[in-house]
Symmetry: none
Subunit: 188 residues, 4 copies
Amino acid sequence: MRKKDIEKQNCIKNSVVQLMLEEGFQGTSIAKIAKAAGVSPATVYIYYENKEAMLREIYKEYAENTFQYMLENLSPDMRGEEIISELIRRYYLFIIDNKEVFHFTEQYSSCPILKSNCGSMRGPANLNQLLTDLKNKQIIHNYSNDNIYAILFSPVKSIAIKSYDTESVAAERLDELVFMLQKLLLKE
Amino acid sequence: MRKKDIEKQNCIKNSVVQLMLEEGFQGTSIAKIAKAAGVSPATVYIYYENKEAMLREIYKEYAENTFQYMLENLSPDMRGEEIISELIRRYYLFIIDNKEVFHFTEQYSSCPILKSNCGSMRGPANLNQLLTDLKNKQIIHNYSNDNIYAILFSPVKSIAIKSYDTESVAAERLDELVFMLQKLLLKE
Amino acid sequence: MRKKDIEKQNCIKNSVVQLMLEEGFQGTSIAKIAKAAGVSPATVYIYYENKEAMLREIYKEYAENTFQYMLENLSPDMRGEEIISELIRRYYLFIIDNKEVFHFTEQYSSCPILKSNCGSMRGPANLNQLLTDLKNKQIIHNYSNDNIYAILFSPVKSIAIKSYDTESVAAERLDELVFMLQKLLLKE
Amino acid sequence: MRKKDIEKQNCIKNSVVQLMLEEGFQGTSIAKIAKAAGVSPATVYIYYENKEAMLREIYKEYAENTFQYMLENLSPDMRGEEIISELIRRYYLFIIDNKEVFHFTEQYSSCPILKSNCGSMRGPANLNQLLTDLKNKQIIHNYSNDNIYAILFSPVKSIAIKSYDTESVAAERLDELVFMLQKLLLKE
DNA sequence: GATGAATGAGAGTTCATTCAT
DNA sequence: TATGAATGAACTCTCATTCAT
């Protein structure tokens, strides 16, 4: 008996994510995925029950990763400025450094049919807790979590997607955005 | 529903947009579009060169509509608060009232291959002009247009997509968001 | 617009029946059928909704044909001997002359899954009526229709399937069988 | 259910027969058989050279069983009525009690490709001997063995397959059939 | 002997598009 | 202009079988 090859599954995952970036949803067929991963189409079905389950599982894994990445540098004794700065900058970095993964999760979660079958994740819960704590400690204004959430992460996503000519310009934009959101959210 | 020429083309457009919402990209095949529009598949090719061109043209038309809708209630003599409020609320209303169209344009513009062949539009130019004017008149802070743009429109999109239990909760969230952005962007 | 080509549909039907005889159920794939019929696999789906529906429709048509063929030479003024003789000999002839069709209907009706979705047919009803009449007229013994039915048609099927060395031997067997069943069923 | 060697092979055999009844030929894949038998697909190939050989071997075994079952209650000193009654009733009972096995052998023997590779069996020879003896002893009429064979076993098969509402109706039909065939075949 | 992983071939079906009317 | 018929290519997925352990 051959053991299940984790490397092979990783090949498949990477191929899925890469193809989704390069060719979009339409280009992400089982045949193309298999060829890109260097396996037979039938092999894909050893690791995933079907195409939909495959995309869902990969999505859930990467989506969790995103939240973990964002939160992992936070510590409870940081000041408000630092927390906001860190959250935004980590998210920005994640998008830049994981272009393909980010694009895949965005594509996936924008498709309502796929998203609906997806259950819930632990990431957002942690983040909600963090925001509630900051409000209780009178560090940030008492806005609704939905709005804080939206204003913290949607804009940074917008500017991270844009491709600026030089890195210095991009850094400038990011600094400014951090400044804006600190001013908006922090008390005093 | 079937009269002539333009009527028929509108049927096709509506079917495309509706199918894209109901069944996603995969469910939007020429055959299904044609059946939903009450025409033959071959007829679609009288109005559009091919499927890609069809999607592109419909996208461009609707994308322009969005900007037009957002800007059409603005007048030069409005106060800063009103301008910001109006921009955000109009965008929110547009998303709510044109769920299908909004979803279609989002889906489309998130697909890199499709988007690339799409050229530029007039809508954003007008908006950029507006923002620049407001900054010159010392009404809003001198942030970069990219960041203003991102912070004005991404968050509202986020909360418009969410489905709240009651309309009053949704209205509350929107009011708060308007308040936040007014505070952030307006001088004094 | 091209008109639906009845000749093409007949080609498909013939290919199905022939392949079922030559290669059995397993050999009857859409691809093989299409190739044998000289059309594209996709064309098959213009004439039939799917494979199961295709087999079902072809079956029903041919099954009706069988009954019609058996009954079409009977007239109300025939004597009991003639009726029994004619029924058996016509059925025998049908099997010999329509080997492929007969084999197809047998294959089909022996598969419980397929058969179940098949509804009812007019043929058996007519035959039941005939048997009941003969019993009422005191021409044949008052056995249950099920048993008469079984004893009239199952044995002839058995010997028709067998391949005898010469036709004369086959004819002898058939004559004997007719004689046996006349003796069994007829009064006096 | 899993002990060793023969136990395992029996598991496979049972799964084959059961699946063939439940899902027909198409549903009887090696993978499904293996899963139903609680073994690996590869294990099937330890006991059988390939799928076709597997079906053939199982068929031959069960087909022999059928004849053995039918003949095993006969003794040379039985009267003609008893012999005919016993043959028919045993066959009927076999079909009812071994629905799955019966269905499997029927399915198998109706497929021309499979059947051809199947050689001859000992069962029919014994039966032919029995019939010839009865004719020599002037117990039954001197009809050809083919016709006797056909008329003895085809009708009972027909009515055994039918599903009657109550057992008493089924028993009635069977009694009548036995009576008919005794009258037809026995001298005096 | 026994297994789960692996696969090329092929299954049924739908695709975007063109053809003939 | 408008159509339903027609199709080669591609789709998702399963097949019987073999491989490596």
